[in-house]
């Protein structure tokens, strides 16, 4: 029986075993809504967050609660909760990542079942994939693979104004950690399923060959993990993303391919909003407000103060509202020539 069929067999059993209500722990051990909210926001201390995670891992009731919560969460706001979570409790120690990588390397080859990919059909889990397709798909879901509804027409990136400089520093630290984690754990990224006639990839030598062959995919995966959520224009095809806080990339293929764009001189960039496939506003530290009207070339606009701007909402290429870390807001209707402070 090929590994694929064995994996399918395991999936059947997993689905039943994990849905077994007998796994419910006594109610007194369950988390309440306030703990859930704090956990999701990354506000629990590391030890408590780990304890909550251990409990939820075995509690059907709390899993269902988390599932309902996630389903309620508006997609546009998730960038806040995801990135706040990097602050405490969700930082994976490098040693653990190294252990996970060692376990990965020690395992015999790749599953014959392809890596799960979200598509409109979750049955992609059971569908065979060609090696080439797998190498491209695994690091980043393509537009066809996205199961999320398209973001709202006025894409509005939000960064928690209350997090302040501390969160920004921790964001940068956590981005580094995540890059390291993905690089270590990315041994199998893009690895094609072995052909049926191939010898089992159990030897370390076979693993090294595999790792070398996937170097590009690993780098790509690590790079992908270092970006903030994408800034999507109406229609979904055109989008931008801020990479490592200082670079900007653009895609006209709904994220299938990315190209760097000109943004000079770059400051630490934090948020953006796109109003059309060619118009995108990006804001950042020290009053940085950038605008592109052709999709590729960003021009820095004048701004009255060196405030750290963390939020932007735009309606077109002339009118935009930006907000700073300390909660102040400004608006321009003439492409940055004049700004008014909002009450």
């Amino acid at each position: 029986m090929p590994d694929r069929d064995r994996d399918q067999s395991v999936e059947h059993v997993l689905r039943r075993v994990l849905s077994d209500s007998r796994s419910v722990l006594p109610p007194s051990a369950c988390i309440d809504g306030e703990i859930l909210a704090a956990w999701n926001s990354g506000s629990l201390p590391a030890e408590q967050a780990a304890a909550v995670e251990r409990h939820v891992a075995d509690c059907a009731r709390c899993q269902a609660m988390m599932a309902a919560f996630v389903q309620m969460e508006p997609v546009a706001q998730t960038s806040e909760s995801v990135w706040r979570r990097w602050r405490l409790g969700w930082l994976v120690p490098l040693a653990t990542a190294a252990t996970a990588a060692a376990l990965w390397i020690a395992l015999p080859g790749n599953s014959a079942l392809p890596t799960p990919v979200d598509t409109a059909s979750r049955s992609a889990v059971l569908e065979p994939q060609s090696p080439t397709a797998d190498a491209v798909q695994s690091p980043t879901p393509t537009a066809a693979a996205r199961s999320e509804a398209p973001p709202p027409a006025l894409a509005q990136e939000r960064f928690d104004a209350r997090a302040g400089n501390e969160a920004r520093k921790q964001l940068e630290e956590s981005l580094s950690r995540q890059r390291a984690e993905d690089q270590l754990a990315g041994a199998g990224v893009g690895a094609p399923p072995p052909p049926a006639a191939a010898a089992p990839a159990e030897s370390a030598e076979a693993d090294r060959r595999e790792l070398a062959a996937n170097a590009t995919a690993r780098t790509f995966a690590a790079r992908v993990s270092a970006v903030l959520p994408e800034i999507v224009a109406p229609g979904g095809a055109a989008r931008w993303r801020i990479v490592n806080g200082r670079q900007v990339e653009r895609s006209t293929s709904a994220g299938a391919e990315w190209m760097p764009v000109t943004i000079d001189p770059p400051d630490l960039l934090i948020a953006g909003a796109a109003t059309s496939p060619s118009v995108c506003w990006i804001v950042g530290r020290r009053g940085a407000v950038y605008l592109t009207t052709d999709g590729s070339r960003f021009v820095r606009l004048p701004f009255p103060e060196p405030a750290d701007l963390v939020s932007v909402a735009a309606s077109d290429d002339r009118t935009v509202t930006v907000s700073s870390l300390d909660g102040r807001s400004w608006q321009t209707a003439d492409q940055g020539r004049t700004w008014s402070v909002l009450p």
Partner: protein, 312 residues
């Protein structure tokens, strides 16, 4: 309440940051809210550095708004209704598009307003908001908790006999017995899954038991979607190899018998549907019929997503 008190300077600073005077929240009232929040977060008395760091991480403006709403400030309520009530309704609609959860949202809204009285004192649910998340996140979490508890309460969960009480299966009883293979696989997978790291168990549970998408799991765990995907594939592979090792080493099964074991599951999916017997977290009360049944979303997803012949 703690025996200690926050320094006045700290409270004043937090009061200013929270813009609490916008809702006429007094410094003393705000101090009480902050101290309650600290008491919730720390099991032992923290030092001032920890307190300062903790207070700086709070959603202070939301905390001030909640405090004002709890004491019945009209302006605060107006602001809350305008900004957050739509959030509640949208969240309710997201988990039940038929509108069935709106009643939950309304009930929650009533408790926030303080319609519930205990010992003659109006008590608001806002007293349980401690600023560790945004107010909208907290509202969604409370609604999720209420929703799940209502579903589980109406599901009439019945205890089942423990596995030990049922007829014991001899270690070699599975030989030549496909039905025995299925139970053996179930037991073995249970043991292997229990040995996984908590986070791996959580990912598998979210994916296989809760039917969340990879993106949703990523949001729940703070991971990139691709990372979730890779880790689920890795964990699934670990389970498979763990099962193979256990069947070989603990059950002393031959390669052929192990093959039969896996094949038996594939051939007999129907009888393994223990969830129909036990009831699963996905079962929900059908508002139209009053009967429990599969979650509509999950059923739709399954029928839409599964190709013919694939596992249900």
């Amino acid at each position: 309440m703690p025996s200690w008190r926050l320094p006045e300077s700290t409270v004043a600073r937090m009061h200013r940051k929270a813009r609490a005077d916008r809702w006429a929240v007094s410094v003393d009232d705000f101090a009480a809210v902050l101290e309650r929040s600290i008491a919730k977060a720390f099991t032992s008395e923290p030092d001032m550095r920890e307190i300062d760091r903790y207070l700086s991480s709070l959603h202070l403006e939301d905390l001030a708004l909640a405090c004002a709403c709890a004491s019945g400030h009209d302006g605060a309520w107006e602001h809350f209704v305008r900004e957050h009530r739509p959030v509640l309704y949208r969240a309710a609609d997201a988990i039940d598009s038929s509108g069935g959860s709106r009643e939950l949202a309304d009930s929650l809204y009533g408790e926030l307003f303080g319609l519930v009285e205990r010992d003659g004192v109006r008590r608001s649910l806002f007293a349980y908001f401690h600023g560790r998340s945004s107010l909208s996140t907290w509202l969604r979490a409370i609604l999720a908790q209420r929703h799940v508890d209502r579903v589980r309460h109406t599901r009439r969960f019945e205890a089942l006999p423990d596995e030990e009480d049922s007829m014991p299966v001899r270690s070699d009883a599975h030989r030549h017995q496909p039905s025995g293979y299925i139970e053996l696989m179930r037991r073995t997978v249970t043991v292997v899954v229990a040995a996984l790291a908590a986070r791996d168990r959580l990912r598998l549970a979210y994916y296989y038991a809760q039917d969340l998408t990879l993106a949703q799991i990523g949001r729940a765990l703070g991971e990139h979607e691709a990372t979730v995907s890779r880790n689920i594939a890795r964990a699934r592979r670990e389970v498979r190899t763990g099962v193979e090792v256990r069947l070989r080493d603990d059950e002393h099964m031959s390669a052929a018998e192990i093959e039969e074991c896996f094949a038996a599951v594939l051939e007999d999916v129907g009888s393994l549907d223990v969830s129909d017997l036990l009831g699963t977290p996905q079962d929900e009360l059908d508002p139209a019929t009053g009967e429990t049944g599969r979650r509509k979303g999950a059923a739709r997803k399954r029928s839409k997503d599964r190709p013919e012949g694939a596992s249900a």
